[in-house]
């Protein structure tokens, strides 16, 4: 006769034997492990005896097996007390010895005179249509009553009290282990204890006996593991498991009862009633499980994950990250890890696009899709309330179409705004929990705290990055200033040097030319010997080379001096349009070889500007020749135009071309003295300055002397625009 009690007992036997062996293998040197292994072994004896006894075929067999079974049970109180004392490190307690003595005495009595302990056995639940009949101790012997009340119930209460009173003084690890023990005691002893009830003629079927195999596992786990898993998980799973079991059992029993009442004659085998039971169980399993999870969460474990840890992580780890990219990445990773989410996304608000940009994601989010979260309608929904938005699909929130699309894309369940002083910084998208649990009040509260922390962190990171940038800018500009200063002094040196060199070079070239002329005019080369004639030819060729080189040197020196000279002398009312026309005529020789159109778009009625015509004209000469040379070198560009507009206090003069443009790396340096990309000896033409790297410097200085400024806009490959801003009242011009 198999019955539920017997099966659960047999199961307890198997698990406990396994646990005993496992614990011994893992830590046979430790006293604690040895005690627990013995205890498990005793439970196994009890389980096996109970299994054999309850399903025994006759009185004698049942009696014998109960006798065997209780050999295990009798020792349990002593072993458990010993275990707890060992665990709490209470040495040589008298109580242990006394309890052991008692238990051994009862054990001895049970071996030699079982009638004092077991008493009698009788077949129980014979009239129950729910359970198979099983042999039970009933009525028990006097020692059994003593054992149950004093050792079993009394000691249990004593030990739990002892554990609880010592709890605060224990180490963190021991505290955690204590939690396990208490859960295990409740499960094991209360569950197993229900099987005492039929002994005292309280004929309630001990369904909770099924908990007995579980509790040994829990304690074994608690002992062996040093990194203990969350106690709450175990408790939760146990409660849910027990709840499911009870529910199914009730369903099964109820149906069996009803069926047996209604169709007693029709159905001979009541196991047939399992079929409708299974049907119902299959149907209700999911909702029932969810219901149990929710109930457990709500009433037992509002603190499902460690909120403290969540906040600590964010304050301790995340807030200190000052790199924005690292910050967002760490945030989503930590959120997913701690709250055990399926996914999380971090969006940063981009003011210019008025949308959220996906900055980081963790979990099961597909990359490569759109990186944006449309903020349309979102501000109204979240930011006005300054609270988060919980997306409840079942309630069918009326969300804008585009937003719904994004919510689906990022699998958002909760959207949390990140704000600071009414400024939108970003948004967190929180996905489903892996456990499928709903987000409850405490979740939202802690997420909002996290959001507040994060807003601060984002702001910090942004500030730091801006600070870094501006610091780098500062260093850069300091470097540039230093460089410009160096170059300026170098410029003066070169100017002086050029002045000094100009005359000697002139003398050299004039002298060499004179020498050559003397040779040609005064020497009778025909009369020389062939050898001397040859020598003379050689001398002439060398002199010609010298002349050529000194000319070039002279040109360079003149170019440098010409470029450096920026002293506007007289400021007069000047017609800009005419000046530009003049310049176009002046540069005409340069444009002979190439096709280029220079358009003067300065209006005929453009007001007269007060400038020094000589130097100011040079500005346009330099700018235009520069452009032409760039066109030639790059073989790109054929159009230039000069235009001007009058504004309130200033004139804007624009020189625009469709040439090769200036590379971004050069654009900051083009006004620096001696910065050139040209080959200064070979591009020289018509005696005009070029390639000294001073052309644009002189432009800038000249305009500066006119109280104006010049800037350049250039797109590489597209063209360049120089914009001159000239105040209407130039310094000397007033």
């Amino acid at each position: 006769m198999m019955n539920l009690y017997g099966i659960s007992s047999l199961f307890a036997t198997v698990t406990n034997v396994l646990v005993a062996v496992f614990i011994l293998l893992k830590g046979y040197r430790k006293n604690l492990c040895r005690i627990w292994a013995t205890l498990s072994f005793c439970v196994a004896i009890y389980g096996f005896g109970a299994y054999k006894a309850s399903s025994a075929s006759n009185y004698d067999l049942a009696f014998f097996w109960w006798q065997i079974s209780y050999m295990g049970v009798i020792m349990l109180p002593a072993l458990f007390t010993h275990f707890v004392y060992e665990f709490l490190e209470i040495k040589h307690a008298l109580l242990i010895k006394v309890v052991y003595l008692f238990c051994f005495s009862i054990l001895t009595i049970n071996i030699f005179n079982a009638s004092l302990f077991v008493g009698h056995v009788s077949l129980k639940f014979q009239n129950s249509s729910w359970f198979t009949p099983a042999w039970w101790i009933c009525p028990p012997g006097p020692l059994h009553i003593f054992h149950t009340l004093v050792l079993y119930a009394g000691l249990l209460i004593f030990i739990v009290t002892k554990l609880l009173r010592s709890y605060n003084g224990l180490s963190k690890l021991k505290q955690l282990q204590t939690k396990y023990f208490i859960v295990a005691i409740v499960l094991g002893f209360v569950g197993g204890g229900t099987s005492y009830l039929p002994c005292f003629n309280i004929n309630v079927y001990p369904v909770f006996n099924v908990a007995v195999p579980i509790y040994t596992l829990i304690i074994a786990y608690a002992i062996v593991r040093h990194h203990l898993m969350d106690i709450e998980v175990i408790v939760k799973k146990t409660v849910i498991f027990a709840g499911l079991f009870i529910s199914f059992f009730t369903v099964f029993a109820g149906i069996t009862f009803i069926v047996s009442q209604l169709f007693e004659n029709l159905i001979s085998n009541r196991w047939i009633t399992l079929i409708p039971s299974f049907g119902i169980i299959v149907f209700v399993y999911r909702p029932l499980e969810n219901f149990l999870i929710n109930v457990t969460d709500k009433y037992l474990f509002q603190k499902k994950y460690d909120y403290e840890k969540l906040l600590k992580t964010f304050i301790g780890e995340v807030l200190t990250v000052l790199n924005l990219q690292n910050l967002v990445k760490l945030t989503v990773t930590k959120l997913v890890e701690i709250i055990k989410l399926e996914n999380a996304c971090f969006f940063l608000f981009e003011n210019d696009k008025n949308a959220f940009r996906l900055a980081a994601s963790a979990g099961n989010i597909k990359n490569g899709e759109s990186k944006w979260f449309n903020s349309e309608g979102l501000q109204k929904l979240i930011f006005s309330k300054n609270s988060c938005l919980v997306i409840d699909s079942s309630k069918g929130n009326i969300l804008p179409q585009t937003m719904q699309k994004h919510i689906n894309m990022y699998k958002s369940v909760v959207l949390i705004p990140l704000m600071r002083e009414n400024e939108i910084l970003g948004m967190l998208s929180i996905g489903k929990k892996k456990s499928d649990e709903e987000f409850m009040e405490p979740d939202i509260d802690s997420l909002m705290s996290v959001a507040a922390t994060l807003s601060l962190a984002i702001k910090n990171a942004t500030y730091i990055e801006e600070l870094k940038d501006s610091h780098l800018d500062l260093l850069e500009s300091q470097k540039r200033e230093q460089r410009a200063e160096n170059l300026a002094s170098l410029g003066y040196m070169v100017t002086n040097l050029s002045h000094e060199l100009r005359n000697p070079v002139h003398v050299i070239s004039a002298s060499v030319e004179d020498l050559l002329d003397v040779i040609d005019m005064d020497m009778e080369i025909d009369k020389l010997s062939p050898k001397d004639q040859e020598t003379m030819t050689y001398i002439k060729s060398k002199l010609e080379k010298t002349l050529e080189r000194s000319d070039k040197t002279h040109v360079m020196l003149e170019s440098i001096l010409n470029a450096i000279k920026v002293t506007p002398e007289k400021f007069v009312d000047t017609n800009l349009r005419e000046m530009i026309d003049e310049v176009i005529t002046r540069v005409a020789p340069y444009t002979k070889d190439i096709k280029i159109t220079i358009t003067n778009n300065v209006g005929k009625n453009f007001p007269l500007i007060k400038v020094d015509p000589v130097t100011f004209e040079q500005v346009f000469v330099n700018l235009i020749t520069n452009a032409i040379q760039a066109f030639q070198v790059a073989q790109k560009g054929d159009k230039m135009s000069v235009s001007a507009v009058e504004e309130k206090d200033v004139y804007h003069i624009m020189l625009e071309d469709n040439g090769p443009g200036i590379p971004a790396k050069d654009i900051k340096r083009i006004f620096e003295p001696f910065y050139t990309t040209k080959d200064n000896l070979h591009v020289y033409k018509n005696g005009k300055n070029s390639g000294t790297g001073l052309g644009l410097m002189i432009v800038q200085q000249t305009i500066g002397k006119h109280n104006g400024s010049i800037r350049v806009e250039s797109v590489e490959g597209k063209g360049t625009t120089f914009i001159i801003e000239l105040p209407k009242s130039t310094k000397q011009g007033v």
Binding site: S559, N562, V614
Partner: protein, 120 residues
Amino acid sequence: MDTKKRLLIVDDEADACESVGNFLKRRDYDITVAIGGRAAIDTLKQDTFPVVLLDLKMPVIDGWTVLKETKPDHPETKYLIVSGLADAGVAEKCKAAGAHDLIVKPIRVRDIYAILEKLY
């Protein structure tokens, strides 16, 4: 009348004056040399020339001063102002003050000769 073309060369560099002068002497020029602005003014007080080759950039007394001082007494004299490219602005002034033409350095002596030939 002397067939030789008379010319006053004014420059602060004696060597330059000599080279240019000798070049032109070989081509039947009667060359007078004044080293520096002071010498030029002194020379022009006593003598007159159809053409003066006047270097603009000179220490103490420059070509501009020489021109200003002497031009009124020598209305017929053609002043050729020799200036560097960089001094083009001042050279323009000279032209306004009565200089005949500008010669921009660097320039070959043979080119100066070509210019002078047109003036006689």
